[in-house]
Assembly symmetry: C2
Homo-oligomer: 210 residues x 2
């Protein structure tokens, strides 16, 4: 498998995976790049190019085998394994994240919730006792964790991320408004609604007539 | 201004904007593509290419003028205007979104909150009375809205989005786990933590030696 796959392609693969899961559950065995493109809002040429990074799945004029492509994507994305996840910051947002449907079914096991508030530590949320964030560092030494989801107040984001990274966590999903610094070998995704809105106003402004 | 700017470039502009805002507030007048690249984790060549879509801001070897680039980005992204936003679904997630810092300062006015639950309708959240989602359609006829943020249970997502789109809302930020269908002239961003995690497991798997 080639190593240098563009990040924009990697970021689209979960969408392919989800669409193919749906088609598979509907009993479909074959799908065309045309149909995939229509469903995902990209051109069929882009679909063929994206999937070509991972070898030749499709037969000219025959479309892609749904179960085969699904299996391949599952393996490529690492969704045939299980991943240990911790959530730090169990305010409204953290609680909403912890109760989000679909983590477990997709191989993500939320193994611990952390907070700094004495009012929350020790309470039970989503069937888990909330742990004191002060124990995070020691806990990570005992149990290796793959992914940290950070939903603390922005001013604590960097501290929490540093603790995670120092303990060998290589993937961070940052829900705080603050951007965090990490070494180049750590994957970070920032979920900030303001940035998503700003990426849409460009198009709204075009519509308003510049 | 050229119209056909790739979406991946548009999606990066808010990051440039935020970084330049910080540099500007620190009193910096000039910045190099090298420094922008280091801060944002992209190559200087990519920075120069991205910004070249919007004309020539930088002087060879002199770097970019921070205030000038900031003003241009503000205008390009439509952040010199104000945008009306409604949030539909005021459960934990919706409440967390409604209380997210930074909307107002960036030109986004949350003008109304909606929910279907009789226990929530009429209560006050973030200084606003929660309205009954049953009045959404009529309200949108009276007051034009630019952006809808949808945080309802997944099974209601498409209905709410249809109501918004039918009333002329052209930008949707979808926090539900369900993907929604919209006409091509509507901008949609999906914020689904599972998809973000899946885009990182590819890299984690490479690391595991998969």
């Amino acid at each position: 498998m080639p190593i240098e796959i563009p990040d924009v392609v990697i970021d689209r693969l979960p969408l392919y995976y989800r669409l193919l899961s749906r088609l598979d559950s509907e009993g479909r065995s074959v799908v065309s790049s045309q149909e995939l493109g229509e469903e995902l809002g990209v051109t069929p040429a882009q679909i063929r190019k994206d999937l070509s990074y991972f070898g030749r799945f499709g037969k000219q004029g025959r479309g892609y085998s749904v179960p085969r492509l699904l299996d391949e994507l599952k393996a490529i994305l690492g969704l045939d394994g299980r991943w240990k996840v911790v959530v730090i910051g169990i305010g409204r947002l953290g609680r909403a994240i912890a109760s989000y449907p679909g983590f477990e079914g997709q191989g993500f096991d939320i193994i611990a919730l952390y907070d700094a508030s004495s009012g929350l530590v020790g309470t039970e949320i989503e069937g888990q006792r909330v742990k004191d964030v002060a124990t995070l560092e020691a806990d990570l030494k005992k149990t290796a964790v793959d992914i940290g989801i950070v939903a603390v107040p922005g001013e604590h984001a960097q501290d929490v991320v540093d603790t995670l990274v120092d303990a060998g966590v290589h993937a961070i999903l940052n829900y705080t408004p603050n951007r965090v610094q990490t070494p180049p070998n750590v994957e970070v995704r920032h979920i900030n609604p303001v940035l998503f809105l700003q990426s849409m106003t460009y198009h709204l402004k075009q519509r308003r007539g510049g």
